[in-house]
């Protein structure tokens, strides 16, 4: 059997090509797109993340935005983007994402049930600091078999909204308010799906209020719990950049 090429190169008729073209030309209806953006906590046309971020992370976010085509990143999703870009910058690409039919790594329908977070001593900051513990990656096959409920979507949206509040406070140069928002997030979602993102925001808030020692402790605690995580590299970079300013 010869190597597979596109049908257009293997003798498709004009009628056949017109079917392919008609399919490729179709776009999702605008309401479907806006509903999806709303559910995932992404708002078009507003950039809130980069303004209060350190110079290095602004550059990183800019690259991320360009790379991934997201014009706007908010809250936890923004931190995910930063982490992804940090990973991209810091390490060679890993093997292809696992999308094989029988073993696709993916999150559970519900927020992952991790070990209890390890708390950094309370005196480091007025806010409680939680380091999400490592857990084996769940499998998509399991996730997709599980019934997808409105509450799982709703919960994720609530997490994104909670982190967005912290992010907005950071953007407004109000790190204490950001820390309060993060405390509320930690209390409300002790095993939240976006707890690593919350940690990134907390380190940024601590650095913004000049508490580098606490930021360093939190970053180190997180790195110890997640040595291979792109979030850990991101946190270390944040603290390091602050130290060299």
């Amino acid at each position: 059997m010869s190597e597979l090429r596109r049908w257009s190169e293997e003798g498709a008729t004009p009628d056949e090509l017109s079917l392919l073209d008609a399919s490729r030309a179709e776009r999702a209806p605008a309401p479907a797109r806006s509903r999806a953006f709303k559910v995932l906590g992404l708002a078009v046309g507003v950039t809130t993340t980069t303004t209060a971020t350190a110079t290095a992370s602004s550059a990183v976010l800019g690259t991320w935005t360009k790379l991934m085509g997201i014009s706007v990143l908010v809250g936890g999703v923004a931190a995910l983007g930063v982490a992804y870009e940090a990973k991209r910058a810091a390490s060679p690409p890993p093997p292809r994402p696992a999308v094989e039919a029988t073993a696709v790594a993916a999150p559970p329908a519900q927020p992952p049930s991790t070990d209890m977070p390890a708390n950094v001593p309370a005196e480091t900051t007025a806010s409680a600091i939680a380091v999400p513990a490592a857990s084996p990656p769940p499998r998509l096959a399991t996730a997709l078999r599980a019934p997808r409920t409105a509450s799982s979507d709703e919960r994720l949206s609530q997490e994104v909204a909670a982190l967005e509040r912290a992010n907005q406070a950071l953007a407004a140069h109000q790190p204490d308010i950001a820390l309060q928002a993060l405390d509320r997030y930690a209390a409300e979602f002790p095993r939240g799906a976006l707890s690593s993102d919350a940690t990134v925001l907390r380190v940024r808030a601590l650095l913004a209020r000049g508490d580098r020692a606490s930021a360093q402790r939190l970053a180190s605690a997180y790195s110890a719990a997640h040595p291979d995580s792109p979030f850990a590299r991101r946190l270390e970079a944040l603290v390091r950049d602050k130290a060299t300013e």
Partner: protein, 159 residues
């Protein structure tokens, strides 16, 4: 990522047999999965990753549809008025309706290979990874799908 690939995900779900009523949910589900597993996505590999997830979501949606024994309604998305000549839009709509019927007649594995390779233009190795089969199997499924479409179009023309 969502902005850049939303159309492709939405379209793939549609071609893979997700009914119109489930397209919004399906597309959202794909991106929720991707957002949570962002650290697994290789730069430049976003599209194959998302379409691989879409494959599973669509497969589940088709099974759910069979359980409920619903017949999907062939609805076409509305394009903004004035964007293109009406006759061109109508022709495209007709072509998509024909394609939808031909895809519905295919076995799922043939349909999946055809949608990912010919319609969403993933590479054959990416399709093979997404389906968990060798590249040769992808080639054979895609070619059988082409034959099915060719036959279907000839039969339509003969009627």
């Amino acid at each position: 990522m969502m902005d850049a690939h939303f159309d492709a995900v939405w379209r793939a779900l549609r071609r893979l047999g997700v009914p119109p009523s489930g397209l919004d949910d399906g597309a959202q589900q794909v991106f929720v999965v991707a957002a949570r597993r962002l650290d697994e996505i290789v730069v430049g590999g976003e599209r194959p990753y998302l379409l691989g997830v879409a494959l599973r979501v669509a497969s589940d949606a088709r099974r759910a549809l069979q359980r409920r024994r619903e017949v999907p309604i062939d609805e076409d998305g509305d394009e903004e008025p004035g964007a293109r000549p009406p006759d061109e839009l109508l022709e495209e709509k007709r072509a998509r309706a024909v394609l939808a019927r031909l895809l519905d007649e295919m076995p799922p594995e043939m349909r999946e290979a055809f949608v990912l390779f010919e319609l969403e233009e993933l590479s054959a190795p990416d399709v093979a990874r997404a389906l968990g089969v060798p590249v040769g199997t992808v080639a054979s499924r895609v070619r059988r799908a082409r034959e099915h479409i060719r036959r279907g179009l000839v039969e339509r023309g003969a009627r």
